[in-house]
Amino acid sequence: MSQELDSLWVEQTLAGDQYAFGELVQRYERDVFNLAYRMLSNRNEAEDAAQEAFLRAYANLERYDITRSFKTWLLSITSNHCIDRLRKRRLTWLSLEEPLPPHPALMSDIPGPEEATLANERSMLVQELLEHLSPDYRLAVVLRYWYDLSYAEIADMLDTTESAIKSRLFRARQALADQLESQPLSSLNPAMEGS
């Protein structure tokens, strides 16, 4: 049903109805923004990247294969754009330490101040851990955990093989586990209690 609705909105957009594309933006703004934020670790830059991803999707909508998932196609555009941004960032050698977002959990759906504070701490820790990964590894982790994509879907998106993705995720988990050794356990405990 969701896929059919996406296809309908895509067709209407291609027929000249911009409002139909607005429906797609509203539906996927959170997914696109979250991917950009997890990759770039900066709210302002993530918003710019997410907006650019939607503009690129709009401009290239004719190339979209309507038989495939629109969400996956959109995430693919977003991830490519974020990787480009990270490469440019590296090339320009920007060593400015971006402060972590002060209240990411406040933008999530978790109710209550205590839960929000704990979620905030966990979210900051996750972001800190992700920042230590290379862009390719980070992307594999984000697509796997936040979007629940299979290895095959991620490989298709990133134009590589399933085994390559599996290997990236394996190494990424190893690196994260090593990183975790140096983190204070207090910030992890609330998340671990239920495990």
Binding site: Q51, E62, S108, L176
Partner: protein, 186 residues
């Protein structure tokens, strides 16, 4: 070392729920035998849980509106651009295909006309007759005007006054009606 790597691969597969019951039992046996592997497995599970529980971050309110404003302010619709490009290309191809044979036919006819004396003679006669007719018309018009000016001198004066006054009136009507453009861009 190889054994350790295999254990880590097994752990990775366990996190993805890709181990059979037998493989899971084997992993548990390995973990019981090695405190280091157990500690490593504990950390991997922590990472896994941490990532699974991390929320989706939302953009600030009004994000979709800002995207749509950006799309609306794009200079031209991307689709229109592409359609124009394709249309222009097809038009140029069609023009080239049609122009070449038409020019060839015209050139052949012109050469034939120049070579044939009868045709050239007829053509010259038509040109001469046409020229003399135009001269006669201009001459009649000149003599008519001359007669008008000499017999009724008020008419030219009236015409030379009415024309500028009419132009002034037209301009004033146009100006006070908000200077509408004659040709508007779509």
């Amino acid at each position: 070392m190889v054994n350790e790597l295999n254990t880590q691969h097994s752990m990775n597969n366990a996190l993805d729920h890709e181990l059979s019951a037998a493989e899971l039992d084997a992993l548990n046996t390995q973990l019981e035998a090695s405190p280091e592997a157990t500690e490593y497995w504990r950390r991997l599970r922590r990472i896994d849980q941490l990532l699974r529980n991390a929320p989706l971050i939302r953009p600030l309110p009004g994000f979709s509106d800002r995207v749509m404003v950006a799309i609306a302010s794009m200079p031209l619709s991307a689709f229109a651009n592409k359609q124009f490009g394709l249309g222009a290309a097809l038009g140029l191809v069609a023009a080239a295909v049609l122009t070449v044979p038409l020019l060839s036919v015209a050139a052949i006819l012109l050469v034939n006309a120049i070579i044939d004396p009868g045709t050239m003679n007829g053509l010259l006669q038509v040109v001469t007759a046409g020229t003399s007719y135009v001269i006669d018309v201009v001459s009649d018009l000149g003599s008519g005007l001359h007669t008008l000016v000499t017999e009724t001198p008020m008419v030219p004066a009236l015409i030379s006054t009415v024309i500028p006054v009419s132009m002034l009136w037209v301009w004033m009507i146009w100006y006070f009606s908000g200077s509408p453009r004659l040709f508007t861009r779509q």
